[in-house]
């Protein structure tokens, strides 16, 4: 589904990603862990198409397409979803209106008829129920005045509405207390199926107790220096990152 080969990227003349290789297949959950400044969020931003980042080398193929040639909105329409580390507040645009526009733009890209107001609201209610989202939140301006937990839940809710093929969760766990984390993780688990895939970017192992990864990768100084199964996450939690770094330099 997603194939990253030798990906290099920089921002403001500073090299951040220095040769990433990663293969993700449908039905898989991958976790990327790593210390601060290792390039985790950069990887998420590059996949979503943030223009401040310049890809200097390597390829990213998503469902047979060259992802790097696509605009952010085209990537979203192809099925990439980035759950933001810091969701943006947009005063004056309600979550409902925002999602309706997004969903219909994606449908247009895929050659489908737009959903009318009735169909859309039906879908909205359905998904809200599954994820136990308060419908009143959707009538409010997008993320405006939302608590940290509400914002992250809203990200997962948007994910549920847009049904991406690959969801990238950029430190979705940061700043969440344990209850909020559990709710967010449950939401993700409900959306998981054999056709889609998740890339969970995190600093802490904690979220992986709830969203069980098939693969864990350690990102350090712009490169994946170790990959393993879910037990690697526990080991990192226990021993920190230094031993992996030491191992990698040997």
């Amino acid at each position: 589904m997603l194939s990253i080969k030798n990906l290099h990227a920089k921002i403001d003349q500073k090299d951040i990603l220095k040769g990433i290789n990663l293969e993700i297949k449908p039905g898989e959950v991958h976790a990327i862990m790593g210390p601060n400044g290792s390039g985790k969020s950069t990887l998420a931003s590059v996949l979503a198409g943030k223009e401040q980042y310049e890809v200097t080398d390597g390829t990213v193929t998503f469902l047979e397409k060259n992802l790097l040639e696509l605009a952010p909105e085209e990537r979203a329409a192809e099925g990439i979803f980035l759950a933001f580390q810091h969701p943006i507040e947009i005063p004056g645009v309600t979550t409902t209106n925002f999602l309706k526009t997004a969903l219909n733009e994606i449908r247009k890209y895929r050659g489908l008829d737009p959903l009318d107001a009735v169909q859309f609201l039906k879908l909205l209610k359905e998904k809200a129920k599954t994820l136990q989202m308060d419908e009143n939140l959707m009538k409010r301006s997008l993320n405006e005045g939302f608590s940290g937990g509400e914002k992250k839940r809203n990200e997962v809710f948007q994910m549920a509405m847009l049904e991406p093929r690959l969801a990238v969760l950029d430190e979705t766990d940061s700043g969440l207390d344990i209850d909020a984390l559990r709710i967010v993780a449950e939401g993700v688990n409900k959306l998981k199926n054999s056709q889609n895939a998740f890339l969970v970017i995190t600093h802490f192992q904690r979220i992986l107790d709830y969203i069980e990864p098939d693969f864990v990768h350690v990102l350090c100084d712009g490169k994946i220096i170790k990959s393993g199964g879910k037990e690697l996450a526990l080991e990192l939690e226990e021993k920190g990152y230094d031993w992996v770094k030491a191992e990698a330099t040997v």
Binding site: G92, V93, T101
Partner: protein, 419 residues
């Protein structure tokens, strides 16, 4: 005195109509002021960013008579049938296209003058001494509207006034003078829709005096959409008595040069005043808002929010003053100006001003100018929304706050269809 001053005085003084002794006195006093007042230039602090040079060389012809026979009401917006409608063409009330409500009094300015209805009101609160265009209007304007909402009357339908500018082969100039009286306990919603359907070159100088008596409530909604060949100086002087409420919302969509002066004298206690504005401009249009909330009595409230979105080569000016006089203790006064610039060539000059002589007040003011939020655009694009659509949504959200303040469905719908 420059040639332009002379020419304006010349073209506007060419026609006279009978006045009562009271009005005659006011007119003479304004003529007197005009001997020293001149067309303001950029050296004048209040006209620093709005240059009238462009109009100086235009060869205006004064609009005197009804030159247009076949007026059709095709410019009426959808939903106008639910309102009382007045049609005013180049300052002159067109009775054939108007529906005069029975419960209030509406006359042409001349007729009101003949009946003595202007006495004690005309020029009572205008600044003829210092303002060139106001003095010019007081001296010579003899067309316009007289509207009086009598005591205890609640206007049953919204009053929509279509202000049509109509030019001819030559550039036309006209003046309009309005007197609007809301007597004690009365209530009305009035909308002014300014249009120039043929987009010919027109200059207008309009002055409106508004008297809001105790416990009266008046909502005034203006949409200025007269195209790019229209030059307009609009000056409003309003005075509020005790416990009255006055709300202005002005939406400006175009104009070669548009200067809006809005002066509210809050002279009665426990009054509420609202001033809201939205400029949505592109190409070479220029809209200038000068506002004044003058708190003269205690316990009054004023709230002002002006927003602007400026694209291409357009220019906006905002100059908002709040005065809180020494007697006006416990005043609450708020003022905000927020702007978005969409192009490198667009500009906004903003100057919020606060002058307070009382010591027990709550006041705030501020101005912001910026571009569209790039992170918000990326967030939307990452959800599949195209860049164009994302910008549209953000601008719409920005503007909506003011659009929501329009108090008349007919104008709201007109705007919704337009943007």
């Amino acid at each position: 005195m420059t040639d332009t001053d002379k020419s304006f005085k010349h073209i506007f003084s060419s026609v006279t109509s009978p006045n009562t002794a009271y009005v005659q006195k006011m007119r003479e006093s304004a003529v007197e002021s005009l001997t020293t007042l001149e067309l303001p230039t950029n050296k004048h602090e209040e006209w620093k960013y709005t240059s009238l040079k462009k109009i100086q060389n235009a060869d205006y012809q004064f609009y005197t008579k009804k030159e247009f026979d076949n007026l059709s009401a095709s410019f009426l917006p959808k939903g106008a049938e639910d309102c009382y409608v007045l049609v005013v063409v180049n300052g002159i009330l067109e009775l054939s296209l108007s529906e005069i409500p029975q419960e209030i009094s509406i006359l042409s300015l001349q007729e009101a003058n003949e009946k003595g209805f202007l006495d004690n009101y005309f020029s009572a609160i205008t600044n003829d001494k210092n303002e060139f265009f106001t003095a010019l209007n007081t001296a010579y304007a003899n067309n316009g509207l007289y509207i009086c909402i009598p005591k205890n009357v609640v206007l049953q339908k919204d009053l929509l006034i279509c202000q049509i500018s109509k030019g001819s082969e030559q550039a036309l100039a006209f003046q309009q003078r309005n007197l609007l009286i809301a007597e004690a306990n009365s209530q009305a919603k009035i909308g002014f829709l300014y249009l120039n359907p043929e987009e010919k070159e027109v200059f207008s100088n309009e002055v409106t005096e508004i008297f809001v008596a105790a416990n009266a409530s008046l909502s005034l909604n203006n949409i200025q959409n007269e195209g790019e060949k229209n030059t307009k100086i609009s000056t409003i002087y309003a005075k509020q008595e005790r416990q009255s409420k006055l709300a202005f919302t002005t939406i400006s969509l175009s104009g070669h040069i548009v200067r809006n002066n809005l002066n509210i004298c809050i002279s009665g206690e426990y009054s509420e005043s609202y001033m809201n504005g939205l400029s949505l401009l592109k190409s070479n249009t220029h809209v200038d808002h000068h506002t004044l909330a003058d708190h003269q009595s205690p316990n009054s409230y004023s709230s002002e929010l002006y927003k602007g979105v400026f694209d291409e080569n357009s220019t906006g000016v905002f100059n908002g003053k709040i005065y809180v006089r020494q007697a006006a203790q416990k005043t609450n006064a708020y003022q905000q100006n927020r702007n978005i610039l969409l192009s490198e060539q667009a500009s906004i000059y903003t100057k919020p001003q606060l002058e307070i002589w009382a010591d027990d007040v709550k006041c705030s003011h501020g101005a912001t100018t910026g571009k569209l939020d790039e992170s918000a655009i990326f967030y939307m694009r990452a959800r599949g929304i195209s860049e164009t659509e994302a910008k549209k949504l953000l601008l719409r959200a920005f503007a909506q706050e003011i659009i929501d303040k329009l108090d008349m469905e007919v104008l709201k719908n007109y705007l919704e269809d337009l943007i």
